[in-house]
Symmetry: C2
Subunit: 466 residues, 2 copies
């Protein structure tokens, strides 16, 4: 860094849009999963209030060689919004307006700081909704979801956040403003800069506006819970439901350990057994679809099958939202080695789950599992004692083995959380040296000085070293 960022910011922004106060810097030094040792403070926090502000700040940062790390709700768990080299934390939460709703086109324009739940609240009167919200949708911002190409419980039916972005406004590293994408339903016009920016975690550009596609709220909704005797059976049943073509709108699994943990955390009374949670959306014939699902499930001898109104399962979804915190709280003397978020083709899901259980036995450590089974996605944590060096090493090895197995099965190291700092080490394994080399070339093309969120997505050596 060649210039203290606050010095040039004073020339371009009013006083109330940046701060070097200790509490602001501290508040922008971590996300949900950052340990105290991993926290890195920015030198200054900047709150842009317009696209022009973002453009001005990025142009100045590039000119002065100051790193810029976009930041919003900090609900990420891979360090995506945590600085690695100080510089500017670009806090997008003041750009939080719903700009326009065009119900006839099933479209909404929003600023990046809008919360997912605020989008759906604004749409309710039109009978529309934004389907791919993550489980954290009521506290996470649309900008953050676009940055990581997030996904949620309804992704099994509707796809990921990126599938619902039609057009972006984004600011490049040099301050130029681009509008990739289109508001038409389809386009073959030019390179797909829009989808390149989606999931790039603010390392290629900073999104300042998004036009999202919407869906009509389904007229029929049902939900249900199915309890199994073993998680392997539950995983096999989940895989079969998807492979059979049942039209599920959500298909989540939790294992018995996770159920125990969430009961302990919330004082609930879930059966402490492996369970599948279902949702169904339709405009016609939802009962036929439930019957079809029951038929597939009957081949797996479930202990119970309860399908009914969505409201009857509200407590289940509330429990599901708390799972990450609940499992962490359940092992107060242990820590998760890293938040696991792998996905595999659905036919390989039972094999993956089986492998995780074997690894738990082999390393003698608990590995609770839950997640979006319908997408072949499992969230898992290997819990180990960080003060026991050998145990911790066994935990890390088990965790990394699961990721490698998922990649070997044709899957991915990170299904919905992004790469951030935490998953960088798997990029070459997943994409190959030439794939990562191509990604580095794209980074250099759009951010030649490496000011945008350095130290993220691409593995070491850093993008500036290649």
């Amino acid at each position: 860094m060649t210039t203290a960022p606050a010095a040039f910011l004073a020339d371009v922004l009013p006083d109330d849009q940046y701060s070097t106060a200790a509490n602001d810097r501290d508040g922008h030094s971590r996300d949900w999963a950052t340990t105290p040792e991993e926290a890195v403070e920015p030198d200054v926090v900047v709150w842009p209030e317009s696209t022009d502000d973002v453009s001005t700040v990025l142009a100045a940062a590039t000119e002065h060689g100051v790193p810029v790390t976009p930041f919003a709700a900090a609900t990420g768990i891979e360090g995506n919004a945590v600085p690695t080299h100080g510089g500017i934390s670009l806090d997008m939460t003041r750009m939080d307006s719903v700009l326009e709703i065009r119900p006839d086109d099933f479209q909404i324009d929003v600023q990046p700081g809008v919360l997912g739940s605020e989008v759906n609240e604004a749409l309710e009167r039109y009978g529309l909704f934004f389907p791919p919200l993550p489980t954290s949708g009521d506290i996470a911002t649309i900008g953050g979801m676009i940055a990581t190409n997030a996904a949620g419980k309804q992704t099994v039916k509707y796809g990921k956040v990126g599938d619902w972005v039609l057009e972006l406004e984004a600011v490049l590293a040099d301050g130029a403003v681009v509008e990739p994408g289109t508001r038409a339903a389809k386009s073959s016009s030019g390179y797909n800069l829009r989808d390149l920016l989606i999931g790039s975690e603010g390392t290629l550009a900073v999104v300042t506006r998004a036009t999202l596609k919407l869906a009509g709220r389904p007229e029929q909704r049902r939900a249900g819970r199915v309890v199994f005797d073993s998680f392997d059976t539950a995983a096999a049943a989940a895989s079969d439901v998807v492979r059979s073509g049942v039209d599920v709108a959500a298909l989540e699994l939790i294992d018995g350990l996770s159920a125990e943990a969430v009961n302990a955390y919330l004082g609930g009374s879930l059966p402490e057994k492996p369970m599948a949670f279902f949702e169904f959306h339709a405009n016609h014939g939802i009962e036929e679809e439930l019957d079809f699902c029951r038929t597939v499930l009957s081949g797996y001898d479930p202990l119970s099958v309860e399908f009914g109104d969505e409201s009857a399962q509200a407590d289940l979804w509330a429990a599901r939202r708390e799972l990450a915190d609940a499992t962490r709280a359940y092992y107060p003397d242990r820590q998760s080695t890293a938040a696991g978020d792998v996905a595999v083709p659905i036919s390989r899901y039972p094999e993956l789950i089986d492998r995780i259980h074997d690894l738990s036995d082999e390393c003698g450590l608990p590995i609770p599992c839950f997640g979006h089974a319908g997408d072949g996605n499992v969230h898992f944590d290997v819990f180990a004692d960080p003060d026991d060096e050998a145990e911790w090493a066994r935990g890390v090895e088990a965790y990394e083995t699961v990721v490698s197995e998922a990649i070997r099965m044709g899957g991915t190291a990170t299904a919905e959380h992004g790469v951030g700092r935490g998953k960088r080490k798997f990029m070459i394994e997943e994409h190959g040296a030439d794939g990562v080399r191509a990604m580095r070339a794209l980074k250099r093309a759009l951010d030649p000085d490496g000011v945008l969120n350095p130290g993220k997505v691409l593995p070491e050596p850093d993008v500036t070293d290649d």
Copy 2:
């Protein structure tokens, strides 16, 4: 060009994989819409038979500075596969195998030279299909569809070709082989190189394998035809059907002129009136959906509404496939100034159609319209006498006005045909100078020597001049 390509090809390929014969060069000098004056012959035609062949040829071409233009069925109409600077025509049609079908994962792996219809034939026994095939799907290759991010009549329900590509194998300009994407249902891992390559028309890499996502064949199918008194009313009705959330699997419009032309071409007996063609796919409740559609349509006083079995409308779809040729044949003394393929947000569709009709009146030239109305997409041709300079200029101006109006409405200059040579002049208008500058940077990043399909996608000045 520094070396005649045939010289170095002799070192790396057997004799039967390349040719400088006049008929081979001539056969690779044009696509469906190339006029004799626009045809450009390659210096040599190369038929790779493996990924290794493609890698070897690209590495050698880059080393020798020889342009490479990928080629397959040549069903494009924007010159996408027509050389601009001689060099190598890389004919992918020998790489035409279905490699693997994984019905449990709803996935198929294919080489790029496989025809769309061959994919669906291979899938029939599994009850699966590849939904986004273009109208030319029985003669166009999957590689070409990926190169242009093609779309078809079922895109209104299922999306574009790019939405159904999970993973690619592709060869970069220097011969490196990358495998962007994943076989898992979702991923947030690294930059989205896959979607950047899709629609890039072989200017960034050459696709050598694709893993496609599949859908289950719907249990219920219906089709129908609705005749209107005016095309403006037909467009308003089509827009309303989509905005009302009717679950259509196809919604095509043709105007009276096009109906006349197709009757003359095929000797058919379609009513020579504006018409909408519908398809519906469902597993349950299709009759309710038809009733919903009829209710929406009744607000537009259709002259007739015929919904029924899909087979009853087979002649309609056959006619639809011939429309482009039929309208051209209908005006033997005139030529289309360019193949129009604009799309706008669905709420603007009636306004766009209205504007086209006004322009036809103003310039005194026929502008038949048809296309994928459900996507807000219209194909149009302004027919003018190429030997009448003033008339031709009026035709070109009317054509360009339609494209500009579509862009102004938030739409796109090219909805499904790609940019090729023909649509380059609209790229700055649609994407802005900074958007195009970013695209040029991406091109330079992946193909620094500009050997891959030069003269396509990006507007003048050429990518090598910037």
